[in-house]
C-alpha cells in the first residue's frame, strides 16, 4: 500500500511538477513563435506554404525530382504526420537535402563564377535571379547555382546564421514536441530554399547554408549591369535600370552610391560633349540627392556659367536670368549666383546709362533699344523703372506678334492680310473705313468737309488747315488731291481708273484748300469711290508705285525702317517734336512666330504686347486674363478659295462644282480652325464677305458636302476635258491656312481630284528682289472685305482695279451684271444688285466659299487710347495710341 501510496504520491508530485513546468514551456514556445514569426514573414508571402512542403520534398528525394506526380503528392501527404514525429526523420531529411544538391549537380553542370557573364538588361528585366556561389575547393572560380531570388535578403547567410545562433541560445525545451519543433527550426535556418529559373514546376530545392559561400543577388547584378552601361556612356539606360531598385529597395548596399556616381559621370560626360542643359539636369538631380557630393558645387557653377554665357551670346537675357535664378534656388549663396547677379546688374546699369545718354542726344530709338535690353538683362536694377518710364514714354514702341508679315507671300497672286496691314500702316487713303455696323462708315484725315451738291452731281471738298498733334502725315493741299484725281480720270495715264473715270467728269480747283468734283452721274455713295492714296504728280517708274504710274505716295504716315523674314519695323514718318506733354506711339515692331503657341509664349514672356492673328481657340483661354484686352474685329475673317479666271481646267463648271461639293467645310472648320465642334467663333459662309454684310444674301442655301456628287461631277468634267492636270492650290505661309489647305487637298483626292499645294518662296533678306508670280489655279485666301460694293469686282477678277479688261474671262451676262452694279443709281439698288450678284456668282461657282472666323486682337493693358469700337484694321488710328512703360519683372 505504502509502495502504492508512495508511488501515488510520487505520481501526483510529478504531475504537479509537470503542471508547473508546462507553464514556462508554453511561454517559451509562444516566445519562440513570436521570434520566428517575423523571420518567416520576411521571407515573403509565398514562402510559408513552400516551407511546409520542404520536408515532403525531402522525403521523396529518392525519386527523380524532375517528375513529381499526383500520386507522389498523395503519398507525401499520407506520410507527413508520421515523418514529423521521430527524430530519425531529421536524419532522413538531412540525407535527402544533400542528395538534392547532388541531384542538381548530377542533372546539370553548374557554371563557374568566372565564366558567367553579367545578365543583360533584357535578361534582368525578364526574370530576376540570384547567383549562389557554392563553397568548393576551387576558391578562385567556384561553382554558381543560378536560382530565383532567395529569402531573406539581403545578407541571407548572415541572417540565417544569426537565426540559428538565436535558436541555439534558447534553453532546451522540456517537452519532446517543443524539442522537436526547435530541431525543425534549427534545420530550417541551416538551409536555403531555392527554385530554379528554368523549372516551370516550381520545384523547391534546399541548399545547406554551409554549402553556399556567398550570394550575388539580382540587385547586385543589376547594379553591375548599370555600371557596365555607364562605362559605355549609356547613362540614361543605366539610370533607368536602377530606378526600379531605388523605388523598391532604396537602401540596397551600393545602390545610392552608384546612382550618384553615375549622375556625376553623366553630367561630366554631357558637359564634355557640350550639352550643358542636360548636364545641369543631372547635376540638379544629384543635388537633390546629395548637395554635398564631392565636386557638385563646382560643376554646378561651371555649367551655369556656360549656360548663361551661351544665352547671352544669343541675346536671350531672359534665359540667362533663368539660369541664375535656377542656381539661386538650389544654392542661394553660390559664388556663381553672386557673380552673375553682380555682372548683370552692372551691365543693366551700363545700358541704362547709355540709354539715358542716347535719349539726351535725341536718339530715342537707340535709347529704347538700350533700356529695353537693360530691362531684359536685370529688371531689378536700381533706377531702371524710372529710366524705362522716362525713355519709353518719350518714344513709344509697340511690339507686335504675328504669324505672317508683309511680303512673306512673295509671288502670291493676291495681297495677303499682312500686306494690306502694312500698306494701311504706311499710307492712308483720302477716305478710310472708320467703323462698320449696319453700314460702312468713312472718315477722312485730309478733308474737313465734303458736301455733295446739285443732287449729287457735284461735290465740294474742303481740306483741313492743320493736323492734330498726334497725327503723322504731311500737310497736303488741294492741288495734290486734284492732280491725283486727274491722273485717275486721264485715259492716257497709266493710273487711269475706269470706275472712277466713269463717275467723275472733272475736277476744279477753287482755292488752295478747296476743290470741286463734277460727276457725270451721281454715285450711290461718294466715299467708297475716293478710297485711294494721294500721290505726287509724276510719271511711271517711281520706286513707290510702279503699277499705278503715279508719283510717290504723299499720304503716308509710317515708313518701313527694317524688314526681314522674321521682323518688320515701322516708324512714324513725321517724328513727334520734343517738349510735348503727352507722346503717342512712335514705332511698331512686328515679329513673326511659327505658331499661335509661340505667339502666346512671347506675349506671356513680355516680348510682345500685341497679337494680331490669333485663332479663336487660342484666344478663348486669354479672354479671362485680366492682363490683356481682347478686341474683336468689326468683321470676321472670311476664308475662301479663289479660282483663277484664266485657268483652263477651271473653265469647266462641272469641275468647279465637283471641287465645291468635295469639301467637307464643317469638318475642317471644327477640327483645323476652331479646334472644337461646338465653338461659335466660326461658321460656314456662301460669300467672300461677312455674313453680317449688307451684301450677303441670306436666302442662298449652301451646297452640302457630298462626296458622291463630287465624284460624279468630276467624272463628267473628266469626260469633257479628256484630261485634268493637277490643280495648283496656292496658299500663304500661314500655319492655319496651310493646314486647312492640306485637308482640302486630301478631301479632293478622295473623290479623284488631284491638286498640289504651291507655296510662295521665302522672302529674301532684302525683300526687294522681284519674285516671279506663281502659276496657280486656286488660291486659298483669308480676307476681310469691308465694302463689297466696290471690292467685289477686284476680288473676283484677282486684279487691283475695276477694269473691264480684267473680266474678259467671265460670261457676258456676269460682265454686264458687274457693270450694272457699278451703274446702280442709288444705294438701295446697289445693295439689291449686289445680293443678286452674290447668288449668281455662287451659282456660277466663281469662287468656293469656305467659312468665316471671328478673329480678335490681343493687347496688353499697358496700351491705351485705342478706338473704343471694333477694329476694322489692326492699326486703326495707331498714331493716337499710347503705350505705357512696362517690362516683365517676373522670375523666369
Amino acid at each position: 500500500m505504502k509502495r502504492a501510496m508512495g508511488s501515488n504520491s510520487v505520481r501526483s508530485a510529478l504531475r504537479r511538477f509537470a503542471r508547473v513546468a508546462a507553464i514556462p514551456s508554453v511561454g517559451l514556445f509562444v516566445l519562440l513563435g513570436l521570434l520566428l514569426g517575423p523571420a518567416s514573414a520576411f521571407q515573403g508571402p509565398g514562402i510559408p506554404g513552400q516551407r511546409q512542403k520542404a520536408p515532403r520534398a525531402a522525403k521523396k528525394s529518392k525519386e527523380p525530382p524532375s517528375k513529381p506526380s499526383q500520386k507522389d503528392k498523395k503519398e507525401k501527404s499520407e506520410t507527413e504526420d508520421d515523418d514529423t514525429k521521430g527524430t530519425d526523420s531529421k536524419e532522413k531529411k538531412d540525407s535527402g537535402e544533400s542528395k538534392r544538391l547532388k541531384d542538381i549537380k548530377s542533372q546539370q553542370k553548374l557554371p563557374k563564377l568566372a565564366d558567367l557573364p553579367i545578365p543583360s538588361v533584357a535578361e534582368l528585366n525578364q526574370q530576376p535571379v540570384d547567383w549562389l556561389v557554392l563553397d568548393s575547393n576551387n576558391k578562385a572560380n567556384p561553382d554558381v547555382l543560378i536560382a530565383k531570388p532567395v529569402f531573406p535578403r539581403p545578407d541571407t547567410l548572415k541572417k540565417l546564421a544569426d537565426a540559428l545562433d538565436e535558436l541555439k541560445r534558447r534553453p532546451r525545451p522540456t517537452t519532446p514536441d517543443e524539442r522537436e519543433k526547435l530541431e525543425i527550426q534549427k534545420a530550417d535556418v541551416q538551409k536555403i530554399l531555392v527554385t530554379l529559373p528554368e523549372d516551370a514546376s516550381g520545384q523547391i530545392y534546399e541548399i545547406p547554408t554551409e554549402k553556399v559561400d556567398r550570394i550575388i543577388y539580382h540587385e547586385d547584378l543589376t547594379i553591375r549591369r548599370a555600371t557596365l552601361l555607364a562605362e559605355e556612356k549609356k547613362f540614361r539606360d543605366a539610370l533607368e535600370l536602377l530606378y526600379p531598385l531605388q523605388r523598391t529597395v532604396p537602401k540596397w548596399k551600393g545602390l545610392e552610391d552608384e546612382s550618384r556616381r553615375m549622375l556625376m559621370s553623366e553630367a561630366e560626360s554631357t558637359l564634355h560633349g557640350g550639352d550643358f542643359q542636360t548636364g545641369l539636369m543631372s547635376l540638379m538631380e544629384l543635388h537633390a540627392r546629395d548637395r554635398n557630393y564631392p565636386g557638385l558645387q563646382t560643376q554646378l557653377g561651371r555649367v551655369t556659367d556656360k549656360l548663361i554665357e551661351t544665352a547671352r551670346q544669343s541675346h536671350d537675357d531672359r534665359e540667362a536670368r533663368h539660369y541664375v535664378a535656377q542656381l539661386a534656388r538650389l544654392e542661394p549663396e553660390h559664388e556663381t549666383v553672386e557673380k552673375w547677379k553682380r555682372a548683370l546688374n552692372a551691365e543693366a546699369q551700363d545700358l541704362m546709362a547709355s540709354a539715358l545718354e542716347a535719349a539726351r542726344n535725341g536718339r530715342y530709338a537707340e535709347a529704347v533699344d538700350a533700356i529695353d535690353r537693360a530691362a531684359r538683362v536685370w529688371p531689378k536694377a536700381v533706377g531702371l523703372a524710372e529710366a524705362h518710364r522716362k525713355i519709353c514714354e518719350r518714344y513709344q514702341r509697340l511690339s507686335v506678334g504675328a504669324m505672317t508679315l508683309a511680303g512673306g507671300g512673295a509671288g502670291l497672286p493676291v495681297p495677303t492680310l499682312a500686306d494690306q496691314r502694312a500698306t494701311r500702316l504706311e499710307q492712308f487713303d483720302l477716305f478710310e473705313v472708320d467703323r462698320i455696323d449696319d453700314t460702312t462708315h468713312y472718315r477722312s484725315r485730309l478733308l474737313e468737309q465734303w458736301e455733295p451738291t446739285d443732287l449729287g452731281r457735284r461735290a465740294f471738298f474742303t481740306l483741313r488747315r492743320s493736323s492734330a498733334r498726334w497725327e503723322s502725315r504731311p500737310s497736303l493741299n488741294a492741288v495734290s488731291v486734284m492732280s491725283t484725281m486727274r491722273a485717275l480720270i486721264d485715259r492716257s495715264s497709266p493710273a487711269f481708273d475706269e470706275r472712277f473715270a466713269s463717275y467723275v467728269d472733272g475736277i476744279e480747283l477753287r482755292s488752295p484748300l478747296e476743290l470741286e468734283v463734277r460727276f457725270s452721274r451721281a454715285p450711290p455713295r461718294m466715299e467708297p469711290l475716293f478710297c485711294f492714296p494721294i500721290s505726287a504728280p509724276g510719271g511711271a517708274g517711281t520706286n513707290f508705285d510702279r503699277q499705278s504710274g503715279l508719283g510717290p505716295v504723299l499720304s503716308r504716315r509710317f515708313e518701313c525702317a527694317e524688314r526681314s523674314p522674321d521682323r518688320s519695323r515701322f516708324r512714324r514718318l513725321f517724328p513727334q517734336p520734343d517738349g510735348l506733354d503727352q507722346y503717342q506711339l512712335a514705332e511698331i515692331d512686328e515679329r513673326r512666330y511659327d505658331s499661335p503657341q509661340r505667339e502666346i509664349q512671347a506675349l506671356l514672356r513680355g516680348d510682345v504686347s500685341m497679337l494680331l492673328d490669333l485663332p479663336p481657340w487660342a484666344i478663348s483661354p486669354l479672354r479671362k486674363d485680366t492682363r490683356f484686352f481682347v478686341l474683336d474685329y468689326a468683321i470676321p475673317t472670311t476664308h475662301v478659295l479663289q479660282l483663277n479666271p484664266n485657268s483652263q481646267p477651271l473653265k469647266s463648271r462641272e469641275l468647279r462644282l465637283a471641287l465645291s461639293y468635295a469639301i467637307d467645310a464643317q469638318r475642317i472648320l471644327s477640327r483645323q480652325i476652331l479646334h472644337a465642334a461646338d465653338s461659335t467663333a466660326g461658321r460656314l459662309s456662301t460669300a467672300p464677305f461677312a455674313t453680317t454684310s449688307y451684301a450677303y444674301n441670306g436666302l442662298l442655301p449652301r451646297r452640302e458636302f457630298s462626296a458622291s456628287m463630287a465624284f460624279s461631277l468630276n467624272a463628267v468634267a473628266l469626260k469633257r476635258l479628256q484630261e485634268i492636270p493637277p490643280l495648283r492650290l496656292v496658299c500663304e505661309n500661314d500655319p492655319q491656312a496651310r493646314s486647312a489647305a492640306a485637308e482640302i487637298i486630301a478631301q479632293w483626292k478622295r473623290v479623284g481630284i488631284v491638286a498640289q499645294l504651291v507655296s510662295p518662296e521665302p522672302q529674301s533678306g532684302s525683300g526687294q528682289a522681284a519674285q516671279s508670280p506663281l502659276e496657280w489655279d486656286i488660291a486659298y485666301r483669308k480676307l476681310r472685305m469691308e465694302e463689297p460694293v466696290t471690292q467685289l469686282w477686284p476680288f473676283i477678277t484677282v486684279n487691283s482695279g475695276a477694269r473691264l479688261e480684267s473680266v474678259r474671262a467671265f460670261p457676258d451676262w456676269l460682265r454686264m451684271e458687274l457693270l450694272d452694279l457699278d451703274n446702280a443709281p442709288d444705294w438701295k439698288s446697289a445693295v439689291s444688285r449686289l445680293q443678286t450678284l452674290h447668288a449668281h456668282l455662287y451659282s456660277e461657282v466663281a469662287y468656293i466659299p469656305l467659312w468665316e472666323v471671328d478673329d480678335a486682337i490681343l493687347l496688353r493693358k499697358n496700351v491705351r487710347d485705342f478706338p473704343a469700337y471694333k477694329f476694322v484694321n489692326p492699326y486703326q488710328d495707331v498714331e493716337r495710341w499710347i503705350v505705357q512703360s512696362w517690362f516683365p519683372e517676373d522670375e523666369p
Binding site: E498, R499, A501, S502, R653, E654, L657, S706, S708, M709, F711, S712, L713, V716, L804, E805, V807, R808, P811, D812, W813, L814, R815, M816, E817, L819, H840, S843, E844, V845
Partner: protein, 561 residues
C-alpha cells in the same frame, strides 16, 4: 453794124461761163476720163528769218514746174489759180491746217472753180524743214487728212511739197456699174485717158481702197447732198490704169447691194481713193439714239477679211455653237466703259472684218478700214433683254447639272444598296430620287424666263432678240428633256423593282424549309432566317401568345402610318 457788136456781146455773155468751167469744156461730152482736174495750190510760209520773199517765190515757181512735170495735162490751173503763197492761213503751220474747215477752204476758192485745192505749209524747226499739206475736194466737199514731209535741204522744200501733194492727191472715179451678184463694180477714172507728165507716176495701184460717195443732185444738177456709203469699200483690181480709163473693183460691204440701189438718175456714185492716215481708229459701240448708250463689255473680233466673203452682212441670227475660225485667228477686243475699242492699222490687212459679240450672239458684222478716221461710231442693237435671258438660262442649266449629277449619284448608291441586299437603304435612296426637282419644275422655270424675256423684247419691238430668246430657250428645253426626262426615272424604278424582286425571290429560296444550301454556314448561323420559315416547327415558348406591346412603343403620328 450794130448787129455785129450785139452778137459779139451776146457771144461774150454766152462764152463768159466757159472760162469758169475751165478746161473741162475741152473734154468730150460725158467722157470723164478726158476731164482734167482743175486745181489750185496755196503755200503758207511760217515766219522765219530764213523764209524770205525770194524763197517763197522760188518755192512756188519750182513747185508749179514740178507739178506740171508730174501731173501733165491731167491737172490744169484755172484762171486765177496757181501755186501761190497763202497769207490767210493762221497759224501758218500744221496746227493751222488741222483747224482748217471745209467752209473756210471753200471761201478761199470762191472766185474760181476748182475741183481740188491743196493747202501747204512750210515751216522750219532747227535744221529741219517741215512741209505739210491737206487736200480740199470740191466734188466731194471734203477736206482730206493732213500729211507732211521733212527735209534738211532748204533747196528741196519744193520737192518735199510735191511729195506731199502726190501723197494726198486722191483720184476720183465714177462708178459706172455695180454687179450685185459678183460684188464688183466698173469705174471710170477721172482724167484716166490723159497721160501723166511723169510716166512713172501712178496714183492708183492694184489693191488700193476706194470709198464710194453718192452725190444727190437736184433737177438743175446742183448738188443737193453728199452722202458716203457706210461700211462699204471698193478694192481696185489689177492694172487700174495702164492706158485704160475703166477699171474693175470688188465691192466690200456689209450691205447686199450698196451701190446698185442708188444707181439712178440724179445720183452720182463717185469713189475716192483713201489711205489710212491715223495709226488706229477708236470705234465706239452705241445702242439707241436718244441718247446713244455706250455699249460696254462687248467683244469685238477683228479678223482677216476672207476673199469672197468680204461683204459680211449684218447678222440677224445667233451665232452657232461651232467655233468661228475667223474669230479664233483674229484678236478679241473688249469695249471699255465708254463702249470704245481701238483698232490699230495693219498694213497687211487694210480692210478687216469686225464682229461685235454679245454672249452667244453676233450683234454686228462689218468690213472696216482702220486708220481712215480717228473716231467711228457703230450702232448696234441693245442686247440686254436677250443677255438677261441668257443669264437666267445659264443659271438654270447650272442647277440642272447639279440635279442630274445628284440623281446619278443617288442611282449609283441605290444600285450599290441593292447589290448588298440593303433594301431599306435602297428604298430611302429611291425616295430621295423622287424628291429631286422633276423636269416639269425646270420646264416651268424655263417657261417663266422665256415669257418674261419675250414680253420685254416685244415691248421694245426687238424681233431679233425675240427670235434669239426662242432659240436659246429651245436649246435648254432640249437639254432638260434629254437629261431629266421622267422616262429615265421610271426606267430606273422598274429596274430597281426587278432587282428587288430578284433579291426577294433569292431570299425566299434561301429561307425555304426544304432549301439546303451546300455552302451555307452551320445551322446555328442560319437560325435567324429560318425562324421566319412558314413550316418551321415552333418551340413551346414560341407557341405562347405574344405579349401585348407597351402602348408607349406604338408608333404615333404620320411616321407610324
Amino acid at each position: 453794124m450794130r448787129v455785129g457788136p450785139t452778137f459779139a456781146i451776146l457771144g461774150l455773155i454766152i462764152a463768159a461761163p466757159v472760162p469758169s468751167r475751165g478746161a473741162s469744156d475741152a473734154a468730150p461730152l460725158g467722157r470723164v476720163d478726158y476731164l482734167p482736174y482743175q486745181v489750185s495750190v496755196s503755200v503758207a510760209f511760217s515766219r522765219d528769218t530764213e523764209i524770205t520773199e525770194t524763197f517763197r517765190r522760188t518755192v512756188c515757181s519750182t513747185l508749179r514746174t514740178r507739178l506740171e512735170q508730174t501731173f501733165g495735162a491731167t491737172w490744169i490751173f484755172p484762171p486765177g489759180a496757181d501755186v501761190v503763197p497763202n497769207d490767210r492761213l493762221v497759224p501758218p503751220n500744221e496746227s493751222g491746217l488741222e483747224r482748217l474747215t471745209h467752209s473756210v477752204a471753200a471761201e478761199q476758192f470762191a472766185g474760181f472753180a476748182c475741183d481740188k485745192a491743196y493747202f501747204l505749209t512750210v515751216s522750219r524747226r532747227g535744221p529741219k524743214w517741215f512741209v505739210s499739206g491737206r487736200e480740199w475736194d470740191g466734188t466731194l466737199r471734203s477736206l482730206g487728212p493732213p500729211a507732211s514731209e521733212t527735209t534738211t535741204d532748204r533747196g528741196s522744200v519744193a520737192d518735199a511739197a510735191l511729195a506731199v501733194i502726190t501723197r494726198i492727191f486722191s483720184p476720183l472715179l465714177i462708178v459706172d456699174d455695180a454687179d450685185r451678184d459678183s460684188k464688183s463694180a466698173v469705174l471710170t477714172i477721172r482724167a484716166g485717158s490723159i497721160p501723166y507728165g511723169d510716166p512713172k507716176f501712178q496714183p492708183l495701184k492694184a489693191g488700193d481702197i476706194l470709198q464710194p460717195v453718192f452725190r444727190f443732185l437736184d433737177s438743175k444738177h446742183a448738188v443737193r447732198s453728199i452722202q458716203s456709203v457706210p461700211w462699204t469699200y471698193l478694192v481696185l483690181g489689177p492694172d487700174p490704169k495702164n492706158g485704160r480709163s475703166q477699171v474693175r473693183a470688188s465691192v466690200v460691204s456689209s450691205y447686199r447691194a450698196p451701190l446698185a440701189a442708188n444707181m439712178r438718175r440724179r445720183v452720182e456714185a463717185i469713189a475716192v481713193r483713201v489711205r489710212p492716215e491715223f495709226p488706229a481708229t477708236r470705234l465706239t459701240l452705241v445702242a439707241g439714239k436718244d441718247p446713244p448708250q455706250p455699249q460696254a463689255g462687248l467683244f469685238v473680233t477683228v479678223s482677216e477679211l476672207a476673199p469672197g466673203t468680204a461683204g459680211g452682212k449684218s447678222s440677224a441670227r445667233p451665232a452657232a455653237d461651232s467655233p468661228r475660225p475667223a474669230e479664233a485667228a483674229g484678236s478679241r477686243l473688249l469695249s471699255d466703259r465708254y463702249g470704245e475699242v481701238t483698232i490699230p492699222v495693219d498694213p497687211q490687212q487694210p480692210i478687216v472684218r469686225l464682229e461685235v459679240h454679245s454672249g452667244g450672239a453676233i450683234l454686228a458684222r462689218r468690213p472696216f478700214m482702220p486708220g481712215l478716221e480717228p473716231d467711228v461710231t457703230l450702232q448696234v442693237a441693245d442686247d440686254r433683254v436677250r443677255l438677261g435671258a441668257e443669264r437666267e438660262v445659264d443659271i438654270l442649266e447650272s442647277q440642272l447639272i447639279e440635279t442630274v449629277a445628284r440623281r446619278g449619284a443617288l442611282m449609283a448608291r441605290t444600285r450599290a444598296a441593292i447589290k448588298r441586299t440593303d433594301v431599306s437603304s435602297a428604298q430611302k435612296l429611291l425616295a430621295e430620287v423622287d424628291r429631286l426637282p422633276p423636269a416639269d419644275e425646270y420646264l416651268g422655270q424655263l417657261n417663266k424666263i422665256r415669257v418674261l424675256a419675250l414680253e420685254e423684247a416685244h415691248n421694245r419691238k426687238d424681233r431679233v432678240s425675240e427670235r434669239r430668246i426662242e432659240d436659246l430657250c429651245q436649246k435648254t428645253l432640249d437639254r432638260i428633256t434629254q437629261y431629266l426626262s421622267d422616262d429615265r426615272v421610271a426606267t430606273f424604278k422598274e429596274e430597281v423593282a426587278q432587282l428587288l424582286n430578284a433579291k426577294k425571290v433569292e431570299t425566299q429560296q434561301l429561307q425555304a424549309p426544304m432549301h439546303r444550301d451546300e455552302n451555307a454556314a452551320p445551322r446555328e448561323a442560319s437560325a435567324q432566317p429560318a425562324a421566319n420559315a412558314p413550316l418551321r416547327r415552333r418551340s413551346p415558348d414560341e407557341l405562347k401568345p405574344p405579349a401585348k406591346k407597351e402602348p408607349a412603343n406604338r408608333p404615333t403620328g404620320a411616321a407610324g402610318i
